[in-house]
């Protein structure tokens, strides 16, 4: 019933009948089912080529990291490539013993270290040596990277995973004749993951942070922006976590996280490509029904308190200057969510967005100027983000003021019908273009199902966008793009800061 209504709405929206029909055809090829343990599947049949894309969407991300363990969701994501009791080991029984011995020694090390000033340095050093030896021993039972190797040598491509604030995603593509192998490997990775090489992988994860955050001026700015904009909500932490938390992860902490959040009712799987949904159902029962049901976890209880005034933060960097301006906005299920999407397009859509036409093209003060309607995630109240890169010879201050002028215009003048229609046409077309990618569809179907309660939202979001009026845009700009809810983060060169201090002292 619902499907029919939706299809009709979609039909009425598309400029050409053909376009509507093709979307309708696609909708008919999407089916879904839920296993008894709560695990949900969305299957998109597309027989263009004998290949299949898989996407596992776990509804837990870095916002669910416990205090003092920021980055643990990401750490588990890495462990999900380490294999199982049967894949990646030379002798699981002996390996298990050796791994337990590592934990045992590590417990004693922690116990001594926790004495603080009273800790015996000699004892610590001794335990440290024992720990290293125990890890080396455990590693002798490991067949390194056996799990990803199995995927690669069976023709898997695009193998990767990602941890964001809101979710953890695992994905790759197989030739269609490896369908059952995917069911086997994916179910076992979530059923009996073995956290082998945990402490070496902890180093790798620490390197990832050095690469993405510490050695990247943009990474450092993003980290400062989030830590400033959010006083309490875990959006204040980057998904990779803080360095000192990473360096002290313990294996049981990652297990705890896995046990709490990787329950079937918290995982949604998207399959797109040359498959028979009935066969998928059969294989899902065969392989995934062994996952024990568990209580669906709840997200962080902390709610970000209201912001009472602008916050500003500087980040010292020898890089050329840039700036982020962020405004507090409500979460993705707010009735104004589509208005923010339209606002994002008005500001940052390709070559006609206001930030480009005014700051880059006409005033020539920016090398680039961008907007992101929802940052860093959408499940909780988040930020409407501007990112400004000044041209040579122009300052962040000048860019900032010019950006505020654009915002003020949006508050006083309504956007034209031509602009609104253009944005709606583009958003409609993007739904059609998205259908061309199996992997894109596998991802989108899971994400829309989890975040909006129905994968059909992928198509019906066009309805919501279509309802947005110029009045809505003006109202939302006036309500949310306000100094009280604003956080500004920008870089300053170390030399400029020293210059300023010296001047101050002279006065």
């Amino acid at each position: 019933m619902k499907t029919t209504r939706i299809s009709l709405t979609v039909l009425s929206l598309f400029p050409a009948l053909l376009a509507a029909q093709s979307v309708q055809d696609f909708e008919k090829r999407i089916t879904e089912f839920t296993l008894a343990n709560g695990l949900h599947f969305v299957v998109f049949e597309r027989h263009e080529a004998p290949v299949v894309s898989f996407h596992s969407y776990v509804n837990a991300g870095s916002v669910d990291d416990p205090s003092g363990e920021t980055g643990i969701a990401h750490m588990f994501e890495h462990m999900a490539f380490k294999g199982t009791e049967t894949i990646g080991t030379k002798n699981y029984g002996l390996e298990r013993q050796a791994m337990d011995e590592v934990e045992h020694i590590y417990d004693r090390y922690d116990a001594e270290r926790n004495k603080g000033l009273a800790a015996d340095p000699k004892k610590l050093e001794d335990l440290n040596q024992q720990l290293k030896a125990a890890m080396d021993k455990a590693n002798t039972y490991v067949v390194p990277n056996a799990y990803p190797q199995l995927i690669e040598e069976n023709g898997g491509v695009g193998l990767n995973a990602g941890t964001s604030e809101d979710s953890t995603d695992y994905f790759y593509n197989f030739p269609k004749n490896r369908l059952e192998l995917w069911f086997l490997l994916e179910s076992q990775r979530f059923y009996d993951p073995v956290f082998r090489e945990f402490y070496k992988e902890r180093d790798v994860v620490r390197e990832e942070r050095r690469m993405r955050v510490e050695s990247s001026p943009q990474g450092m700015l993003a980290e400062a922006l989030l830590a400033t904009a959010f006083a309490a909500h875990p959006y204040r932490n980057m998904p990779g976590g803080w360095a000192s938390d990473i360096e002290n992860f313990r294996l049981p902490e990652a297990i705890e996280f896995y046990k709490k959040y990787y329950v079937p009712s918290n995982i949604t799987i998207g399959i797109a490509g040359d498959v028979d949904p009935k066969e998928c159902r059969k294989l899902a029962d065969k392989y995934f029904s062994i996952l024990p049901a568990g209580p669906t976890p709840y997200g962080p209880r902390t709610v970000e308190p209201g912001q009472k005034g602008e916050k500003r933060v500087q980040v010292e960097s020898p890089a050329q200057p840039f700036m982020a301006i962020a405004y507090k906005r409500p979460y993705q299920n707010d009735h104004d969510d589509p208005v923010f999407d339209v606002l994002g397009e008005i500001l940052a859509g390709e070559r006609t967005g206001l930030l480009y036409t005014e700051l880059v093209r006409d005033k020539k003060i920016s090398l680039g100027a961008f907007a992101e309607p929802s940052f860093p995630g959408g499940k909780y109240p988040n930020l409407f983000l501007f990112f400004l890169v000044p041209n040579r010879g122009h300052s962040v201050e000048e860019n900032e003021q010019a950006c505020y002028q654009i915002i003020e215009h949006l508050k006083t003048d309504k956007v034209t019908e031509e602009t609104l229609n253009r944005i709606k046409a583009k958003m409609r077309a993007s739904v059609i273009r998205r259908l061309d990618s199996n992997s894109g569809m596998a991802q989108a179907l899971t994400s829309y199902y989890v975040n909006y309660g129905d994968w059909r939202k992928l198509f019906t979001s066009i309805d919501d966008i279509n309802k947005v009026t110029a009045d809505d845009v003006q109202r939302v700009a006036n309500q949310y793009l306000i100094p009280e809810g604003r956080t500004v983060a920008y870089t300053v060169s170390p030399a400029a800061r020293r210059g300023k201090t010296a001047e101050g002292e002279n006065q």
């Binding site: 040598e153 193998l159 059923y191 390197e207 050695s215 390709e350």
Partner: protein
């Protein structure tokens, strides 16, 4: 064994308890799975034709979605930049689009195209220029008209020339901000040679030298029908499209003498360690390598397999050694990097904590020595070949990939069935082949090492690698006659 396990479970708690409870289930093994053969590859056959004006065309229908897209491939490239106007090709490509046509400014085109959710974009890279479009089926005529106008009569309006020059200068001013980008650029430039078209970079002075006339002349020299190949893909009828293209381009009969071959790569090795200092990073970004080869070389397939085993994926030696066993790097890999028409670059690259810089570079060299001194294992060879051959179907997962491949093969003069020759050759590679090509083509004495990082935190200095270490000067040469106030930072 079982009992012992259980005793430990009690000690370590949660971790093993959970494993123990679940033990009751016997999991099926991947070893028991049998895979049916894939159906034979469906390889679409594009329609090939040459328009009356000499423009070659490839058309491929695909009616799955109501979309049409296409691209013109122009034999041009920044390898043709004059030595005092480096960046000319790039600017020409950009302003060909932004500068608009005789009738419409670029800004008017922006709105007209986006009003119907379409795009036309232009670019000139190292060895080719492209003008591409994408639209909904119902707007094909309108968008093809704009595409034709931009290809045949771009206006290169002065205000867009000024804008693009300003932007390009700003990009130069920011080119040292991203350490990973610096490492890659300095490595490529060093290996190809900084005073050659493959290895030089645009400076402020070049931009000042480039004027609108230069763009117009560059365009006129390379953008003529006999020098262009066109591909169109999507929801249309090939017969009708053929007529449409004759109508659109029939009157464009402009000709020029045939375009020269691209300059040859200067094959002089640049061995040694080169260090660029950046104080604001906690990792060292590195590239190690030397000139490689072309895709048409007879040993290319064996070299692909060798590079795959050395540093291709999760199961490669470098990944296993540097990342998994030592935890020194998140990012580490190797590639043979062959090009279609000139030697590419063989390289090993990654980034590592500053204090492990020398350890990691030594490990890289050890792995290179190892693959040159003894045969790889049967298992390694099998894994590398399976990885390539079992994923072969993904070269054909979208009809457009076949179309693009044929276009590129034609452009660089490769046989139509090159990809199948490659598939056959990979299947035939032996352990002896890999040892032979590793010894012949991986040349430790020619290696260029480029490291970008903070040497104050290296612990062990780079000289421990036993080679001379030369600094890389990242200073950006200031323009001669620039308004000085522009350079002052706020």
């Amino acid at each position: 064994m079982r009992l012992r396990c259980f005793a430990l479970v009690l000690i370590t708690g949660l971790l093993s308890a959970q494993t123990e409870v679940r033990r009751a289930v016997v999991l099926p093994s991947y070893k028991d799975l049998k895979f049916a053969p894939l159906p034979p590859l469906q390889v679409p056959t594009p329609t090939e034709l040459t328009l009356a004006n000499g423009m070659r065309v490839l058309l491929l229908e695909d009616h799955e979605l109501p979309l049409v897209s296409g691209a013109a491939l122009i034999r041009a490239g920044n390898l043709f930049d004059p030595a005092d106007k480096r960046g000319l090709a790039g600017l020409t490509g950009e302003i060909l689009r932004s500068g608009g046509t005789k009738d419409k400014t670029g800004d008017q085109l922006d709105e007209a195209l986006e009003n119907v959710a379409a795009s036309v974009e232009s670019d000139i890279g190292e060895t080719s220029g492209t003008l591409s479009f994408s639209c909904l089926k119902e707007n094909t005529d309108q968008v093809l008209g704009i595409f034709r106008d931009l290809l045949t009569s771009p206006e290169f309006r002065q205000d867009k020339v000024d804008l693009a020059k300003t932007q390009m200068a700003s990009e130069i001013s920011r080119r040292n901000d991203d350490a990973g980008g610096v490492a890659e650029r300095e490595f490529v430039n060093t290996v190809y040679g900084r005073n050659t078209p493959y290895g030089w970079q645009t400076e402020y002075a070049d931009i000042e030298n480039i004027q609108r006339d230069d763009l117009v002349n560059f365009y006129k020299r390379y953008y003529f029908p006999a020098n262009i190949m066109l591909e169109i893909y999507g929801d249309f009828s090939a017969a009708q499209m053929k007529n449409k293209l004759e109508q659109l381009f029939g009157s464009w009969t402009y000709t020029q003498p045939p375009v020269f071959a691209f300059p040859k790569v200067r094959e002089t090795p640049a061995p040694g360690v080169f260090l660029a200092t950046k104080s604001d990073v906690t990792q060292t970004f590195f590239h190690v390598g030397h000139l490689g080869g072309e895709l048409r070389d007879k040993d290319y397939p064996a070299l692909e397999v060798a590079a795959e085993i050395l540093g291709g994926g999760f199961s490669s030696r470098l990944f296993r050694n540097v990342r998994t066993a030592h935890g020194w790097a998140y990012n580490i890999g190797a590639g043979w990097g062959a090009q279609y028409d000139h030697p590419g670059i063989f390289q090993i690259s990654g980034s590592t904590q500053s204090v492990h810089t020398v350890d990691t570079l030594k490990a890289v060299r050890d792995e290179l020595d190892k693959i040159r001194s003894s045969e790889v294992t049967d298992q390694e060879l099998q894994t590398a070949k399976d990885t390539v051959l079992n994923s072969f179907v993904f070269h054909f997962d979208q009809p457009s990939k076949t179309l693009n491949r044929l276009l590129v093969y034609q452009y660089y003069g490769y046989p139509k069935d090159f990809i199948f020759q490659y598939q056959k050759a990979i299947a035939a590679v032996t352990k002896a082949d890999i040892l032979r090509v590793a010894q012949e083509y991986f040349r430790p004495q020619d290696l260029t090492y480029v490291a970008v990082g903070n040497p104050a935190e290296f612990g062990t200095p780079l000289t421990a690698l036993g080679m001379n270490v030369q600094p890389i000067d990242l200073t950006i040469p200031e323009p001669k006659k620039e308004n000085a106030s522009l350079n002052r930072r706020p």
